[in-house]
């Protein structure tokens, strides 16, 4: 049996696993990004150096703490994190998605904070001087101007998630990880190498689809005046 024969005879399974992989990553990145962007907006401060004990001062504390915490989570080996969640969420999709969401947090939060804080001071000052309240400033000035940076964070986290999602197969999560784990555990047996190869190649296909998706999103959501 050559590789093409393998692909054609298993096309249904491969297609199914690729779709599942795509969906798991999409859901996890969607949920994770929503959380991170919302958190980033909530703890953004109007002033770069807020006075002590003011609301902004606490927000800045939460922001820095959140960044350290999510960074720490990102360094936990994925194999361990999946295993650690087993007692709580059991085998299957839930654990796969929850763990993946955790891995998306840091990159998006970091980029959201960076994007919001690097908006031109002069722009924010003139907005304030023209009578923009804080929320209006945040949502109509800061967020659109920070959006390219935020979107880049989401894009990076998506690529990372595609490979981490593979490990989800150890808790019976859906996706191409099943092919890989299967192949590796039977290495030497018939078609085992083809399974590993297919799992890897179709991860690239998923990544390519996401890249196309993000190129379109970028085109549609980045305001014309700041497009590069």
């Amino acid at each position: 049996m050559n590789y093409l024969d393998y692909l054609t005879s298993n096309s249904e399974q491969i297609l199914f696993l690729t779709q599942a992989h795509f969906l798991v990553v999409l859901i996890a990145v969607g949920v994770g990004s929503a959380i991170s962007v919302a958190l980033g907006l909530a703890v953004s401060t109007g002033e770069p150096d807020p006075p002590r004990f003011s609301l902004d001062w606490f927000a800045a504390g939460v922001r820095e703490g959140g960044l350290v915490f999510t960074a720490a989570l990102l360094t936990v080996p994925s194999l361990a994190l999946y295993a650690l969640f087993l007692p709580f969420t059991g085998l299957g999709v839930t654990t796969a998605i929850v763990v993946l969401v955790i891995y998306t947090l840091y990159t998006v939060l970091r980029n959201t904070v960076a994007g919001l804080t690097t908006v031109d001071r002069a722009v924010l000052e003139s907005a304030r001087g023209l009578g923009y309240g804080r929320l209006r400033r945040l949502l109509t000035i800061q967020l659109p101007l920070a959006w390219p940076v935020i979107l880049n964070g989401i894009r990076v986290t998506t690529l990372i998630s595609i490979s981490i999602a593979v490990v989800g197969a150890v808790v019976q999560g859906p996706g191409l990880g099943i092919l890989l784990i299967n192949g590796i555990s039977r290495i030497g047996a018939a078609n085992s190498f083809y399974q590993v190869l297919t799992g890897t190649l179709f991860c690239l296909v998923v990544a390519a689809v996401f890249e196309i998706f993000f190129a379109i999103v970028q085109r549609l959501t980045i305001p014309r005046g700041i497009r590069v």
Binding site: P51, D120, A122, V123, E125, S126, A127, R128, G129, L130, G131, Y132, G133, I141, P144, L145, P223, R224, G225, I226
Partner: protein, 383 residues
Amino acid sequence: MSETTDQPVVETPHGAGKPDMIVLEGVEKIYPGSTQPAVSELDLAIPQGEIVMLIGPSGCGKTTTLKMINRLIEPTSGRILLDGKDVTHVNGDQLRREIGYVIQQGGLFPHFSIADNIGVVPKMLGWDKQRIRERADELLHLVGLEPSTFRDRYPRQLSGGQQQRVGVARALAADPPVMLMDEPFGAIDPITRERLQEEFLDIQRTVGKTIAFVTHDLQEAVKLGDKIAVFATGRLEQYADPDTVLTRPANDFVSDFVGGGAAVRRLSLVELAHLELHPVETDEAGTSGATGQGTAAGSRNGVAVAEVDGSGRPVSWRHLPDRDAAGTPLVTVPISGSVYDAVDVMLDGCASLVAVVDEEGRAQGVLHWNDLVGGLRTRQGHA
């Protein structure tokens, strides 16, 4: 003037009669963590329709003062009145929508088109779309930008000078009676800055706003201001018209700040149009037709005669009283300029006299170098 005239250094010969639009009463600002007030016990009244230039060295409190007027910075104590109404405790965002605000780099929103940038305040005030669009076009026109070319562009497609014009248009959008300007021309190249200043004065003649304007450039303050407020470390040292600040500084600080060049700077206050100039006659290639302010045609004693080209523009001196006409280059200065411009032209052209010309380039009179030291005569009935 209102009841706030107890300031020690206020001299307001022109302002009398006009009601005060902006009044600061005993305003003080102490920043958190600082013991020294940034602005202390400040009383300042700006009459309606006047441009007041706030000037002083860095850290003198001029920007803090400006930003307290629209409460971008909240005063620690004191009262702020706008058009007689106490605004010290009203909603800051609402207040700021009623006050025009222009900052140094323009501060345009990069993701908004030019028309949308101009329309931000009207939009917040709930104007309908059609009216906002018409207003944006009207203002683009006012600041000298063609609406059809510029309304759909984005800030990054504009030069610094154009962006600053849009910044001014945006501040004027909802027709606020008061404008605050924080070094609006500070980051612009000198040539463009000068043009923007001229245009700014033109616009002000049309709109007649009450303007507080922060600058660190004395030249700019003298050129644009109806009054100048000189600040030193949180205190108002002198508040008077430019001429008074230059010629009669209130104290050593102001005289140091104004510096040694005061007499030269004052020249930019004297407009050529207001001066009694020496008469000039013109000759077109051989014939002797006299125009301008010459008394009698053909009388060449004591009257300068310039040779003009076909369209009436002087090209060289034909006859000059008491000097060699051929050896004196002919330089011209527009009558809309100041004596400062005339001196500049004379120095530049190594000429001891300059022909003052009107918009069409025709000679209107002559200014001699000696007039500068002999005393300039102002024309009667030409205020």
